[in-house]
């Protein structure tokens, strides 16, 4: 099939070492903690238990309780403590189990961490990583299924990172830890068990560099996080119908790699943006406004956005599924723009 050559070979070649997304994150943490003694971890149940999604397993054994710290359920304060440790020389990686609970920490993240560098005239640095996880799972309902990246995207002074593959997860987390800005690093609960090629070496991925996950000439799909595998699945089905889809994964939303997105749109002249989050006030709308302003003349059709329905996520599984974009929704949107 054409698919094999179309999808990036470095990530699908099974002769290379394969890791799960959660293992790739674990390896990034381990390597960075070895490399830099100021890196430490805080969160609920991350030490002995290794985290709800097993991202921090065995790190307690290797680095001890001073660098792998279990906290009580005190999100606002331990994130604040992360900010304080960060501005005084440490590089904390703080885990908030669900992105829904980051809402308890927003003063520290938005009023404090995001503004500290600016308010100190560019002198104070906040090398803090807030690792968290969002999106729908299997019936986790309204307070454990949200996609809230737009809240952080909206705030100047934060970096927003959303890896879709094990390879990206490792490289981006290492960059996040080394960055001097506060980074909101958003994983997806349905990606942890996905497998992909992850090199053993110490590589990093620059922020603001999109990745073309599949090359194509007819239409550009812009997608991030768990919408990337769904977009790739849609692309495969469309290939069988003779439609050649390019999938662009920005990987970091702030900074956003406008150039790669615009270049792709100028090539294909058709674009569909896919986000799991609800449509209103979402990042897709913002990307659409950038495209229409900077590549309007190239567009052959209005920009399509595939997004979640404007609703809290229902517990009922069937309704949950209908609330967020599925492969078929993406296929239909592609057909509408062509």
């Amino acid at each position: 099939m054409t698919v094999k050559t179309k999808t990036k070979s470095s990530e699908s070649d099974s002769s290379k070492r394969m890791l799960l997304y959660r293992e790739a994150l674990n390896e990034a943490l381990k390597e960075e903690m070895k490399r830099d003694s100021t890196v430490f971890l805080m969160g609920e149940g991350i030490a002995e238990r290794g985290g709800s999604y097993k991202v921090t397993v065995d790190l307690l054994k290797e680095f001890g309780p001073e660098r792998v710290i279990d906290t009580p359920i005190a999100e606002a304060s331990f994130v604040g403590a992360g900010v304080g440790a960060a501005i005084t020389g440490m590089r904390p990686v703080v885990e908030i189990l669900f992105i829904d609970f980051t809402l308890l920490t927003l003063d520290q993240v938005i009023n404090q961490a995001a503004k500290y560098n600016f308010m100190t005239g560019g002198i104070g640095k906040v090398p803090l990583v807030l690792r968290t996880q969002g999106g729908v799972g299997n019936g986790l309902a309204a307070q454990h299924s949200q996609s809230l990246e737009a809240i952080f995207y909206h705030i100047p002074g934060l970096r927003v990172v959303m890896p879709s593959s094990p390879y990206d997860a490792k490289g981006l987390l290492k960059t996040a830890i080394r960055a001097d800005d506060p980074v909101v690093f958003i994983e997806h609960k349905l990606l942890y068990m996905n497998e992909g090629h992850v090199p053993q070496d110490d590589y990093t991925i620059d922020f603001g560099k999109a990745d073309i996950k599949r090359t194509g000439s007819d239409v550009t799909l812009v997608a991030w996080s768990n919408m990337v595998p769904k977009s790739l699945a849609a692309a495969e089905k469309l290939a069988q119908q003779g439609i050649d889809v390019e999938v662009v994964d920005p990987r970091t939303l702030n900074p956003l790699d406008k150039k790669t997105i615009l270049d792709s749109v100028r090539k294909t002249e058709h674009v569909v943006i896919v986000q799991e989050a609800i449509r209103r006030g979402g990042i897709a709308s913002d990307i659409a406004s950038i495209i229409q302003q900077q590549a309007f003349d190239y567009l052959d059709a209005p920009i399509e956005i595939v997004a979640g329905i404007n609703t809290p996520i229902p517990f009922n599984l069937n309704l949950e599924k209908l609330s967020v974009p599925q492969v078929n929704d993406i296929i239909e949107a592609v057909k509408r723009v062509l």
Partner: protein, 319 residues
Amino acid sequence: MYEKDFLKQLFHKIYTIRIFETECIKLYRQGLIRGYFHPYVGEEATAVGVCSALAEDDYIISTHRGHGHCIARGAQIDRMVAELLGKKTGYCSGLGGSMHIADVQAGNLGANGIVGGGIPIGVGAALGISIRKEKKVVAIFFSDGAANNGVFAESLNLAAIWNLPAIFLLENNHYAVSTPIEQSSRNQNLYERATGYGVHALAVDGNNVIEVFEQTKDARQMCIKGKGPVLIEAKTYRHGGHHVNDPGAYMPKDRLDYFKSKDPVTIAKKHLKEQGKMSESEIEKIEKEVETTMERAIDFAKESPELSFAEFNQMVMGY
């Protein structure tokens, strides 16, 4: 001494919660219930003791471990099973599920997926009562983990300075997921925290339904007289892990055995025999009746329809 009927009622409720949880865990293992499920097994006496001391128009507010509170407050178990199965006939039309189960009409303001999320809401309900000068109270359920969140401290202080009719019901089951309280609090008598805010506080055996009932009754009286709030720490223990998929391997066997030897079901049964003079066969009759009601509840839930996409869409249209 207590009336036989009253003791019977207590046992009936406790046993209903036990059967509800054990049967629903089976449904979960069969894949019929999805998402998070935090069993209340081992803690039944707390919810039943508290709710039995409340008046019909009092309020309760619950937690992620909320099935017991809901039943103790008088919910119908058929509509509860239906909610857990995501059905239209459930208390929240299948939109909320286990973690968000509520029975607003019965004064159960709801479970919560956010640890500590219900505490200030309970204070607000008490504030409304106070402004309207009603003789009602709010029982605010939360556990030891939530007591370490900032909202607990802030809410307790608000209730204190406004003399609100709120009973803070701290269900100390000694764990927040796998974190034992020894690791999250220097002082493990959590009720003593309230004293610092000038709030009357005490601890009870959370596995003894009569003790919980008596203390709640007194606390309610204080609240009604304008001497609230009160904090009651009910010491209890889960019989298993944090949720259905957590084996709870970190729970020391001797501690677990100790609390199992003080099983709320056994204790309530003992009250019934010794004070209520009920025979073994009469008790078995109650048990049988509860089990049959549960079987019917499961059938009802299984046969119930789901909310259609059109109905759902209609509901969220203007959101």
